[in-house]
Structure formats: structure tokens, C-alpha cells
């Protein structure tokens, strides 16, 4: 139980040395490491907190932008819808106007086509009628009828007005040898002589006429020279009738079209 004072002093020194060595090799390195780690963790936490704050801010910003974008989108959509509605109405109006115009044009074209058709039909009918008439007259034409025609021609020649007679004389006097007489059938000599006599009487000359047959005349006599012609024939009558009817049809068709266009407007 005695205290060895040398041992006490030695242990005291040992203890102080141990304190220094452990400070050097244990406490300081360990505490430094712990502090460094804590600092690192704190830095990481701070960094994470900063990033979180930034992320929150960005989130808020993004949210705000998103809301603004939504509002803009809605506004644009409303504008576009309104514009589309206006455009649609305009297009419908334009289409209606165009359709109306087209309908009017088509109606006009249809009416014109109808008028043309009617005109064509009338012309064809006329042609047919005159053809039938011409055929019928050709069928009943005969020599006796030709004789009657020659008589009628002679009477007609004699009964012509003074002005006409003078025109006839002027035309036939210049070329007395080239007077041509056309008939549907060959005229008998008697008839030829009577015609020659009547012409000579009218012209006060002795002229010899040339006689020719022309079936297109149907029935009648045609006398021509130097561009001047005197005729009495069914063909002439029919041509005059055809001319008159065609002129009348044209006159009738014109006011009708005018009336139609007035109605459509």
C-alpha cells in the first residue's frame, strides 16, 4: 500500500505524454474528420435547400407562365373561333352569292338554249313544211300546169308597172341575145312562141330566146339576163313565204329573251 513517488512522477509524465500523443493521433484527426463530414453534409443540405428553393421558385415561375400561357391560349382560341365564325359567315355569304349567280347564269343559259332549241325547231319545222309543200307541188306539177304558169307569167309580164317594164327593157336591151327562159318542164312550141312574142312586144325587138328546163323551179317560168330576173314560179312564192315566216319568227324570239332576262333580274 506504499506509494512509490518515483512511480507516481513517472506515471504523471506517462499520462501527460499519452495525453499529447492521443491528441495528436486520435482526438484531433477524428474530430477533424467528423467536423469535415458534418460540414460536407451541412453544405450538401444547404445546397439541397438552395436547390429546393430555386426549384420552388422555378416551379412557381413555371406555374405562373403556364397560367399566362393558358390565358393567352384561351384568348387566342376565342379570337380564332370568332374569326373562324366571321370567316365562315363570309364564305357562306360568298358561296350563296356565287351560287345565286351560277343559278342565274344557268337559268339564263337554259333559257337561251331553250330559245335556240325553239328557234331551231321552228326552222326545222319550216324547212320540213316547205319541203313537204315543195314535194307536194312538184308531185302535182304537170305540163298543163306549166302551160297555165306560162300564161300567168305572160299576164304578169304584161301587167307589170311602167318602172318595172323600163328596168326590164334597159336590162334586156343591152344583151338581147342572152335572154334565158327556165321552166320545170320543156315548154311546147306554142308556149315558147307566145313568150317570145310577149317579150318582143315588150322590148319592141325581134329576139330569139333560149329555153332551158330547171326542175328546181317546181312550176313556173323564170326569165333572166345580165343579172336581171323576171320570174313567176311556185319556188319563188315558197321562197318569199319562207323569208316572211323566218323574219317573223326572229322578231318574236327577240322580245321573249328580253322579257326572260328582266324576270330573272
Amino acid at each position: 500500500m506504499d506509494i512509490n513517488w518515483f512511480t507516481v512522477v513517472a506515471q504523471l509524465i506517462n499520462f501527460l505524454i499519452l495525453v499529447w500523443l492521443l491528441k495528436r493521433f486520435l482526438y484531433k484527426p477524428i474530430l477533424d474528420a467528423v467536423n469535415k463530414r458534418e460540414k460536407k453534409i451541412m453544405d450538401q443540405l444547404k445546397d439541397a435547400a438552395d436547390k429546393k428553393t430555386i426549384a420552388e421558385q422555378e416551379k412557381e415561375e413555371f406555374k405562373k407562365k403556364n397560367e399566362e400561357f393558358d390565358q393567352q391560349k384561351k384568348g387566342l382560341m376565342d379570337t380564332v373561333v370568332a374569326e373562324a365564325a366571321t370567316e365562315k359567315n363570309q364564305l357562306i355569304e360568298t358561296a350563296k352569292a356565287e351560287a345565286k349567280g351560277l343559278i342565274f347564269k344557268m337559268e339564263e343559259a337554259a333559257k337561251a338554249a331553250q330559245a335556240n332549241e325553239n328557234k331551231e325547231l321552228a326552222q326545222n319545222t319550216q324547212k320540213q313544211v316547205f319541203e313537204i309543200t315543195r314535194k307536194a307541188l312538184s308531185a302535182i306539177a304537170s305540163l298543163s300546169l306549166e302551160e297555165q304558169s306560162a300564161d300567168t307569167f305572160i299576164k304578169h309580164l304584161k301587167a307589170s308597172k311602167e318602172e318595172e317594164k323600163q328596168q326590164f327593157i334597159d336590162a334586156f336591151k343591152s344583151h338581147p341575145d342572152s335572154i334565158l327562159v327556165k321552166s320545170a318542164f320543156e315548154l311546147p312550141t306554142k308556149q315558147q312562141d307566145e313568150i317570145t312574142e310577149a317579150v318582143n312586144a315588150l322590148l319592141h325587138t325581134e329576139t330569139k330566146l333560149q329555153f332551158k328546163t330547171a326542175p328546181g323551179i317546181i312550176s313556173g317560168i323564170e326569165l333572166s339576163t345580165n343579172g336581171y330576173k323576171v320570174a313567176w314560179s311556185f319556188s319563188e312564192y315558197l321562197s318569199a313565204l319562207e323569208e316572211n315566216i323566218s323574219g317573223e319568227t326572229r322578231e318574236k324570239a327577240k322580245p321573249n329573251v328580253k322579257e326572260d332576262s328582266d324576270v330573272s333580274n
Binding site: D2, F6, V8, Q11, L21, L22, K23, L26, Y27, P29
Partner: protein, 232 residues
């Protein structure tokens, strides 16, 4: 039977004696320093660390926390002294599981040296905290009449520290030695286990009492300084 390892002398020259206490102390010191060096030479500061580093960090931060809980606000200043006290006594005491080992804390010379170091450390930290005058005035608290009692208290608690540790460790070793002669099989093992517990508790008690004494000295000095500042 030797009551103290001081009595086992290996070499002697005049008053210089190399006894078992010193040799064992050096051994304990070597174990502590080498193991610390081995672990701390490859310290890592990232999240993943080695098991030994984790173990040492637990010990060091545990001691740090204990010092702080007792009342010392800057534990880094005191861990060198208090931590070494605890580790030295703890490692010396748990060494009894080794056959033929005689703990240096079973020597009154060692415990006296440790108590003496505490006796010296208390004024050292007190003075370093608030100056020589401030520390000495703490002996006149609450009145100057208390000066002799404060001095007696200072000496007696140092004596108590030394004797408490010595008595506990020496008695533990003696009981084991006595029991070995009576019933050599089971009881010594149980007593050795009890000795481990006692040794750990004694290490804790010694170091925590040292902390309390230092904390009291530092706090007294601080309070004195604070009151002085307020009055002026």
C-alpha cells in the same frame, strides 16, 4: 501475495525503479497509440467510412457529448485530458481478461498520479479560462471564511479520487486471487466479468468526476467574471 504491481520490480537503480506498473502502463499506452494511429492514418471524410473509424468516432464523439452534458461548452479543449483519463483507465481495467495481467490502476501510485493530474488540471483550466486572480477568488466563495474548507475539499476530493479507483481495482484483483485459491474454476470467471463491469464504471466515474471538478472551476471563474462585469 502482492497487493500492488509496484512491488514487482524489473530493474532498479537508486530511487529509479522499473516495476510492473510502469511496464503495463507503457503497454497500455502502446496499444492505445498504435491502434489510434492505425485507424486514423486512413481517415475518410465522406459518408462511407471503415468500421474501425466508425468505432473510434463513436467513442470520441461520445466522450465529447459527455463533457458537454456536464457543462463544459467547449469540449474540444478538455477532451485531450478527460478522454485520455477515461481511455487509459478503461483499457487498463478491461485488460484483466488477459491471464497474468495486473492493471496499473491497481497501483496506488498510478491512481495518485492520475488524481494529482486532475488536482493540477482543475486550476490549470480555471486559470486559463478566467485568469489567476479570478480562479483564486473562487476559493473565497461564498465568503473568505470558506477558504480553508475549500482547500481541504480540493485536497480531499483528490485523495478520494485516487483511493476510490485504487480500492475498487485492487480489491477486484485481490478477490479474484483469493477465489482462485479457494475455487479455481467458475467463480474467478464470474468475478473477472464483474471486474470488467467495475473497471468500466470506475473509468467512467473517475473521468466524469474530473470533468465535474473542472467544470465547477471553470463555471465559478466565469460567474465571478460575469458578476464583475455587471457590477462595473
Amino acid at each position: 501475495m502482492d497487493l500492488s504491481p509496484d512491488q514487482t520490480i524489473f530493474w532498479e537503480y537508486g530511487f529509479i525503479t522499473i516495476n510492473l506498473t510502469l511496464v503495463t502502463t507503457w503497454g497500455v499506452m502502446l496499444v492505445l497509440i498504435v491502434s489510434s494511429w492505425l485507424v486514423t492514418r486512413k481517415l475518410r471524410t465522406d459518408i462511407q467510412i471503415s468500421r474501425w473509424q466508425c468505432f473510434l468516432e463513436m467513442i470520441v464523439t461520445g466522450i465529447n457529448t459527455q463533457i458537454e452534458e456536464v457543462g463544459l461548452s467547449k469540449p474540444e479543449r478538455y477532451i485531450g485530458f478527460i478522454g485520455t483519463l477515461f481511455l487509459f483507465i478503461f483499457v487498463s481495467n478491461i485488460g484483466i481478461i488477459l491471464p497474468g495481467y495486473s492493471p496499473p490502476t491497481g497501483s496506488l501510485s498510478t491512481t495518485a498520479a492520475l488524481a494529482l493530474s486532475v488536482f493540477l488540471a482543475v486550476p490549470f483550466f480555471g486559470i486559463s479560462e478566467s485568469g489567476f486572480g479570478g480562479y483564486l477568488k473562487s476559493y473565497l466563495q461564498p465568503t473568505w471564511i470558506m477558504l480553508p474548507f475549500n482547500i481541504i475539499g480540493e485536497v480531499s476530493r483528490t485523495l478520494a479520487l485516487a483511493v476510490r479507483l485504487f480500492g475498487n481495482i485492487m480489491s477486484g484483483g485481490m478477490i479474484v486471487a483469493i477465489l482462485l485459491s479457494i475455487s479455481p474454476f467458475i467463480f474467478p470467471i464470474i468475478m473477472n466479468m464483474l471486474g470488467l463491469l467495475t473497471g468500466t464504471v470506475q473509468a467512467y466515474i473517475f473521468s466524469i468526476l474530473a470533468t465535474v471538478y473542472i467544470a465547477a472551476a471553470v463555471r465559478n471563474s466565469k460567474e465571478k467574471t460575469k458578476s464583475k462585469v455587471i457590477t462595473t
